[in-house]
Amino acid sequence: MLDIKELEQRQRNYALKRRFVPVAIIVLVVVVFGFGYLFSTVETEKKVIQKPSIAIKAVAVKSKPETKINDTKPAEIVQEQTVLSPAMDFVQSMKNHSSAQPPVQQVSQIRTVVVQVPAPVVQQKSIEPIKEPSVVVVKQPEIARQPEAPKMNHKMESAPKTSINIERSGSGSEIDQVIKRFQTNQNPSLSLFVAKKSYEMGDYHQALNYALITNKIKSDIADSWIIFAKSLVKLGRKEEAAKTLKEYISFSGSTEAKQLMDDINSGRFK
């Protein structure tokens, strides 16, 4: 005897399953392909966005500071624009710190960093003292205060030494952070930042070093050359500064550099 009601119910379930499965498969396929398409589109966009940063990375790795000063290879001129974006409060605190306290009076931290300074392209023949492997020694944090510590050791001025001791004062921890960041990513904007801040703080040796490093990584940053030349002048190496600027002007035609050249020659900048 047939149980028609039960058969009807079972048939309905079967029909539902039979129709649901292909629909579910189609929906699944559409969803999978849709996601795949979206993902590939996003990936393509990401690649397009990431390309410049990859180029910068490559440049940064390529132009790591080298030990040899007499680097005869011309530094590459890289066109990419890199924007330094430190935290605003950090910049503010740097400014406050540097304006409120003279760098000489408070030496809170002394870093010891061995930086082997590469020679800039235009300095290959003109800057003799840097030809020797000059090592900049910046002492690592020593919490002990040095109340009457000198602003800097001008050992390099007296004679070419194998190392330059820089006792840097001022907003040590903040600038250290930037240096650390620079050591991690070799971003020339960071090294330029360090150079500028060091110059502002009167740490001309460090300013010189970081300007040099910046030039090595990216040789078309005018500010970096200006800081480099200014630091040389401040360190009493006026002739070298003039030669450097002359070389730089010859291939860049920078008006800013020309202005500084005039100021140095006329004695307006000392």
Binding site: L2, I4, L7, E8, R10, Q11, Y14
Partner: protein
């Protein structure tokens, strides 16, 4: 009136091997002729195999019916598994010798060998469901066929055993091997419609449109026995609806819902 029509239609799909229910399809007809031709020649053995429900038994029945008028043909639809009984039955049927006592293979072989063939009337023995015979008995059947005084047609399912029989033990003796297969969609349509028309159910025969045939083929894969079972249940359901919910019957086309219900009822669909 419609109840009677549905009842007749249902009964036409009763699963039976009666020759009256034999439906002549092109392929089956060709096979039949080929078998008929083979057995009329001097041969030892022929093999008919295929999946269950492909029409082997029906073909044997048809062959038996047409051959029995002219020659000594013996069809054993149910296997005789006991050896002694098997030889006794053969002695009785083939030669009219009745043995009350034990009759072993050696004794039966002597009887066979001593028989003289008159007018080329070699007895023809058809064994259905031969896959059920034990291997020693099958070997003895093979030896009997070697005497050329008995012809055998062995019908069995397409199983591993069949492969052994066909390829090893019987290979050299088998002069004709025929494989039966499930129906194609076109054959299935002809089969269903011929069956219904044979039962004078023209109205129901027209219900099986191409769409309905496609559904049936999907459910049965063209197997004749499964088709019979399915359509029997289909008309059974139809009879229920005629009596209780006549609106559910579509007289123009066999309903897919009813066919699927029938398939669920017969176990062809797992739902």
């Amino acid at each position: 009136m419609k109840v009677e029509l549905f009842t007749k239609s249902r009964d036409s799909f009763l699963d039976s091997t009666s020759v009256e229910n034999y439906i002549e399809l092109d392929r089956a007809s060709m096979i039949y002729k080929s078998l008929l031709e083979a057995v009329s020649k001097p041969m030892k053995m022929a093999l008919l195999f295929g999946k269950p429900g492909t029409g082997k038994s029906m073909l044997l029945a048809k062959l038996y019916q047409s051959m029995s008028q002219n020659q000594k043909v013996f069809l054993y639809s149910t296997p005789i598994l006991d050896e002694d009984e098997f030889f006794k039955v053969l002695a009785q049927d083939l030669y009219g010798i009745k043995y009350d006592e034990e009759l072993n293979f050696t004794q039966f072989m002597k009887i066979v060998e001593n028989r003289e063939i008159i007018d080329d009337s070699i007895p023809f023995v058809m064994l259905d469901e031969a896959q059920l015979y034990l291997e020693p008995l099958m070997e003895k059947i093979r030896l009997l066929s070697d005497t050329r005084k008995v012809k055998f047609l062995i019908s069995l399912h397409k199983t591993q055993k069949e492969d052994v029989v066909a390829k090893e033990h019987f290979q050299t003796r088998i002069s004709k091997t025929i494989e039966l297969e499930n129906a194609s969609m076109d054959e299935l349509k002809i089969y269903i419609q011929k069956k219904l028309m044979k039962a004078n159910c023209l109205e129901t025969a027209t219900m099986f449109t191409q769409k309905a045939i496609k559904t049936i083929y999907r459910l049965t894969a063209g197997n004749y026995r499964n088709t019979n079972k399915l359509l029997y249940a289909f008309f059974e359901i139809g009879l229920y609806y005629l009596a209780n919910e006549p609106k559910k019957i579509d007289s123009n086309e066999a309903s897919t819902v009813m066919l699927e219900m029938a398939a669920i009822h017969t176990g062809l669909l797992d739902a």
